[in-house]
C-alpha cells in the first residue's frame, strides 16, 4: 500500500471518529447558509438578478444583534428564561436591521435603475458599490477589529448523539432555522402575499393585470429575504463575533448554496445550504481548515459548469 493509501486510511479513521461532531456543526452552519441563501433566491425570483449587496444585510443583522446583546447581557449568567428572551430579542433585532437594510438597498440601488430600464450590468455595479460603501462605513463607525458578542446563554452540551456533544448554540440555530424556513415556506405557498410574489416571479406584467402592485411586491420580497438574512447575521455573530467584513464569506457561501439548490428555488436554497454546510464540515478531515473556503467555492464553480440550474432547478414560482 502506498503513502496515499495510508493517508486516506488514517483520515477515514478520523472521519469515523469525528463524524457526528462534524455533522452536527455542519448542519448548524448549513442552516445559516440556507437562511442567507433564501434572500438571494427570493430576489432572483422577482428580478432575475443576484443581489450582491446581500452580504451587508447579513452584516447589519449581526451588528444590530451585537449591540442589543452588549446593552442587555449582564456580567452574571442569565437565567434560562432570560436567555430565551435575549436570544429572541437578538433574532428580532437582526431581522429588523436586515429588513430595513434590504428595503434601503432596493430603494436606492435597484428601484432607481429599474425606473430607467437600466442594463443588467448596471445593477451588478450598483450592488457591488453599495456593498463596498456599507461595509467600509461599518468599518469606520464600529472599528476594524473583530469583537465577540456577549453571550446571552451558557453554551453547554445539551445532549450527545453517538458520543458527540450537541451544543446549545447548535440547538438555538436549529430551532430558529426550522421555524423560519417553515414560516417562509408557508408564507410563499399559502398567503395572498406569497401568491403575489410568485405571480411576479412567473410573469410580472400579467401579475399587474391581476392587481398586483409590482413595486410593492418587489420591496416586500427584499424585506422578507432581508429579515432572514439579518436574523442569520445575529445567530452567526453569537458564535463568531462581529467585524465590518463579516458578511463577505458567509454570503458568498450562501450564494453557492442557492446556486447548488437551484437559484430561484426556495426549498433548493434551504437544501443547498444544508448540503454545503455538512459537506464543508466533513471536509475538515481531509483538508486543512484554511482551505475550507476553497472547497466551498470549488463547488460553486463545479455546479456552474456541470449543472447551472442546480439540484432542484430554477423556479420561485412554484408553491412547493
Amino acid at each position: 500500500m502506498g503513502a496515499f493509501g495510508h493517508y486516506l486510511l488514517a483520515h477515514l479513521d478520523t472521519l469515523k471518529h469525528e463524524f457526528w461532531a462534524l455533522f452536527v456543526g455542519g448542519v448548524a452552519n448549513g442552516l445559516l447558509y440556507g437562511m442567507i441563501a433564501v434572500g438571494y433566491t427570493l430576489v432572483y425570483g422577482v428580478l432575475r438578478l443576484i443581489n450582491f449587496a446581500h452580504s451587508e444585510i447579513f452584516m447589519a443583522g449581526g451588528f444590530a444583534g451585537y449591540f442589543v446583546m452588549k446593552a442587555l447581557v449582564g456580567a452574571s449568567a442569565p437565567s434560562a428564561f432570560a436567555s430565551v428572551g435575549l436570544i429572541v430579542l437578538g433574532i428580532v433585532a437582526g431581522g429588523v436591521a436586515g429588513a430595513v437594510m434590504a428595503a434601503l438597498l432596493e430603494r436606492v440601488a435597484y428601484r432607481t435603475l429599474r425606473r430607467r430600464n437600466a442594463p443588467r450590468l448596471a445593477y451588478l455595479i450598483s450592488a457591488i458599490g453599495a456593498s463596498y460603501f456599507l461595509f467600509n462605513l461599518a468599518g469606520k463607525e464600529f472599528g476594524h477589529i473583530a469583537v465577540s458578542t456577549p453571550q446571552p446563554y451558557i453554551n453547554h452540551a445539551v445532549f450527545h448523539i453517538f458520543g458527540a456533544p450537541v451544543l446549545m448554540y447548535y440547538i438555538i440555530i436549529l430551532i430558529a432555522g426550522v421555524i423560519m424556513f417553515i414560516a417562509l415556506d408557508r408564507l410563499v405557498a399559502k398567503t395572498r402575499l406569497g401568491r403575489g410574489i410568485r405571480a411576479v416571479a412567473q410573469d410580472a406584467e400579467t401579475a399587474s393585470l391581476m392587481g398586483v402592485n409590482i413595486d410593492r411586491t418587489i420591496a416586500i420580497t427584499f424585506i422578507v429575504g432581508g429579515a432572514l438574512g439579518g436574523a442569520a447575521g445575529f445567530l452567526f455573530a453569537m458564535g463568531t463575533g462581529v467585524v465590518y467584513t463579516m458578511g463577505f464569506v458567509p454570503a458568498l457561501k450562501a450564494f453557492t448554496a442557492a446556486v447548488l439548490g437551484g437559484i430561484g428555488n426556495l426549498r433548493g436554497a434551504m437544501i443547498g445550504g444544508l448540503i454545503l454546510g455538512v459537506f464543508e464540515g466533513l471536509c475538515v478531515v481531509f483538508v486543512q481548515a484554511a482551505y475550507i473556503d476553497v472547497v466551498a467555492f470549488g463547488i460553486l464553480v463545479l455546479v456552474l459548469l456541470v449543472r447551472p440550474t442546480g439540484i432542484l432547478g430554477e423556479r420561485l414560482g412554484r408553491s412547493a
Partner: protein, 236 residues
C-alpha cells in the same frame, strides 16, 4: 362607458398608435379588427395601464383613467385577457383563478364555483399546473381568471388564436354569455368573420390608426373589410 380620445402611444421612437378615438357603450360587444402589427394589442394594453399614452385621454364611466396604473384597473372594473393567455405556468388552475380575484375582499369561492359551472373542464383540472393545460383550456382559464375580478368591461386579446375551430365556437359562445350576464366586451380578433357575427359594432385598425368603424352587420358586408380581412372564405 369607455371613451378614448386622440390616444397616442409610443414605444421609444416608434409610434404605435397615432391618435385613436373610439368608444364602447354599456352592454355592447365591440370588435377591434386589423392585420398583424396594426396596433390592436397596444390599444388594449393602453386601456389596462400597461402603456400610458403619450397624449390623449381615456375615460371609463366618466372617470379619467389616462394615468391610472395597471394594478389599479382590476379594482376599477376593467379586466384584460392578454394576448397569448399568459396563464401563470407554475400555479394550479385554482390558484390562477384566485389571482384573478387578487384585490377582492371577502370570500370568492362562490365566484370560483360559478366559473367551474361555466367551464366544467377547469373543475376537472383544478389541481393541475397552468403549464400542463391545452391551449383551449388555457384560454378558458384566462377568461375565467379575468371574470373573477367581476369586471364591468372585459378586454379580450385574440381569444381564438391557435385554437381548433370547435373550441373557437365554444369560446365565442361563452363571450356571448358573458355579455348576456351584463359584462361589456371589447374583443380584438384576426378572425374577423367570427368576431363580427358576435359583435354589435366593430372598428378596423391599420398602421396605428382606426380607419373606420360601423355596425358589425354592415362591416360583414363592407367591401373593404371583405377584401382584406374576410378573404374568400366567408359566406354571408
Amino acid at each position: 362607458m369607455l371613451d378614448v380620445k386622440d390616444a397616442v402611444v409610443r414605444y421609444g421612437a416608434i409610434t404605435a398608435l397615432h391618435g385613436i378615438s373610439f368608444n364602447v357603450e354599456q352592454g355592447e360587444i365591440v370588435a377591434l379588427l386589423g392585420a398583424n402589427g396594426a396596433g390592436k394589442s397596444t390599444t388594449l394594453r393602453m386601456l389596462s395601464g400597461l402603456h400610458a399614452p403619450a397624449s390623449g385621454q381615456i375615460l371609463f364611466e366618466g372617470e379619467d383613467v389616462t394615468r391610472t396604473k395597471a394594478h389599479e384597473f382590476s379594482k376599477l372594473g376593467i379586466s384584460h385577457v392578454p394576448e397569448g393567455r399568459r396563464i401563470f405556468p407554475q400555479m394550479s388552475v385554482e390558484e390562477n383563478l384566485e389571482m384573478g380575484a387578487f384585490n377582492r375582499r371577502g370570500s370568492t369561492s362562490d365566484d370560483r364555483d360559478h366559473m367551474y359551472e361555466t367551464f366544467p373542464i377547469l373543475k376537472e383540472r383544478r389541481k393541475q399546473l397552468g403549464a400542463n393545460l391545452s391551449g383551449g383550456e388555457q384560454q378558458m382559464l384566462a377568461i375565467a381568471r379575468a371574470l373573477m375580478a367581476r369586471p364591468r368591461l372585459l378586454l379580450l386579446d385574440e381569444p381564438s388564436m391557435g385554437l381548433a375551430p370547435m373550441i373557437v365556437e365554444t369560446i365565442f359562445g361563452i363571450i356571448g354569455e358573458i355579455r348576456t350576464a351584463g359584462t361589456t366586451v371589447l374583443v380584438v380578433e384576426q378572425n374577423a368573420s367570427q368576431a363580427l357575427r358576435l359583435a354589435d359594432r366593430g372598428y378596423v385598425m391599420e398602421n396605428g390608426r382606426i380607419v373606420f368603424g360601423d355596425l358589425a352587420k354592415n362591416l360583414l358586408h363592407d367591401e373593404r373589410v371583405r377584401a382584406v380581412y374576410l378573404g374568400e372564405s366567408v359566406e354571408s
